[in-house]
Symmetry: C2
Subunit: 210 residues, 2 copies
DNA sequence: ACCTAGAATGAATGATCATTCATTCTTACG
DNA sequence: CGTAAGAATGAATGATCATTCATTCTAGGT
């Protein structure tokens, strides 16, 4: 009796950039499923349907791959926010605020898959300064944009005694905390009520805009 | 010529419970310094000034040691909160609220060492259900206590349109988010301004109590 | 159709690490 | 003191993993 042959896969050659992308996606999938600590190069390359050596070919080391993966995730999340805040669609300020909230607590971002990856890296930030650097850079950019949006709203609404910088910091922290709660204690908090909590926060600060 | 003798350490025998405690403390120190992923049994036992075999003797496996360490940290943080909220000192509600805030964003809790450990475990929660279980249990207890404190304050202050459960969730999320910001982007947020942000949150909800 | 640059493979290598356990040491108790 | 229960040690073991590189294969150019 003959053992079932594994379906022979034809080797495919692709441009460097595409392979890198593919490996980063596979890394995200593995981190979400097995955690950052347990993710091996074998898992990643298998997830991508490629051979072990390929990772080294495109990223030199595992450390590099992890770094680039963080960069990718951070960029995706923060540019998403920034685009909305800049309001290319020329929406009014209230709509932008709502859109931002819906993005931050929406289907795409609050997937377990995404939040797992995000917090996996945060967990290592204390030990790996480079991770901190990557996140800080993007975070600063988003914080500036949010502060500027809040400042416009404060001006438009004539709100008194509100510091846009502090409020932006508070709002960002609230969103991060809600993400954490959705990940760690999902039974205690639905996405819907997370959205309500964030909305209430904004409403107390900008009663005429929400 | 004789090589310098390492200072011979006299072997010391201690009761099981004390050794366990000592190893857990060493684990915390290592996680803070090297990260959860890179922490080895060698590091932990060396940090404790003991031999490698000792960890296996008291905890069977590394996984057990990590689990017990999380339990220890979670218990420390949450019982600290709960004690304050229950107000054994019979303080009035406003004082309890302030004390809670000062504990959560105070010297003890916001040490880099502590926050690193905390988030290291959160990062693995997505992949290890047991971690989620440990944290969830304590979190639920603290959440109930906070909700009950908020409910008392709402009653005392006659505040309208405030749901204690939702507000408690929001406040907890804000505190977690501030911890995260203090860890990841310490240059953007001082402990002092973190406290102000949290106080402002409470003030908007309970203007007569803060 | 042929050729070649370089993309992709995966068995082999060596490093790291958790775990084991035969042995040594400490201390409480008789 | 002497002894035994069991606490502590650390060299040895075997498993896991990142990384290497000789070899195989692909596809675009001629």
């Amino acid at each position: 009796m003959k053992a079932a042959q594994p379906p022979k896969k034809r080797r495919k050659i692709l441009p460097k950039e595409q392979r890198r992308q593919q490996l980063i996606e596979a890394t995200i999938a593995c981190i979400a499923r097995y955690g950052l600590a347990s993710t091996t190069m074998h898992m990643v390359t298998q997830e991508a349907g490629l051979s072990v050596g390929i990772a080294n070919l495109h990223f030199e080391t595992k450390e590099n791959l992890l770094r680039e993966t963080l960069r990718y995730v951070a960029e995706e999340y923060h540019t998403g926010q920034i685009d909305i805040m800049r309001g290319r669609e020329a929406e009014n300020l209230s709509d932008r605020l709502t859109a931002l909230l819906n993005f931050q607590l929406g289907k795409g971002v609050t997937q377990r898959r995404k939040m797992s990856v995000w917090f996996a890296y945060f967990g290592e930030v204390g030990a790996r300064p480079i991770y901190q650097k990557i996140v800080s850079a993007w975070d600063r950019a988003a914080a500036r944009e949010l502060e500027s949006l809040f400042a416009s709203i404060i001006q438009e609404g004539g709100y008194r005694d509100v510091d846009p910088g502090e409020l932006a910091m508070g709002y960002s922290a609230l969103i991060d905390g809600l993400h954490l709660a959705l990940l760690v204690t999902p039974r205690e908090l639905t996405k819907q009520s997370a959205r309500k909590i964030a909305r209430d926060f904004l409403q107390r600060a900008f009663p005429n805009h929400i």
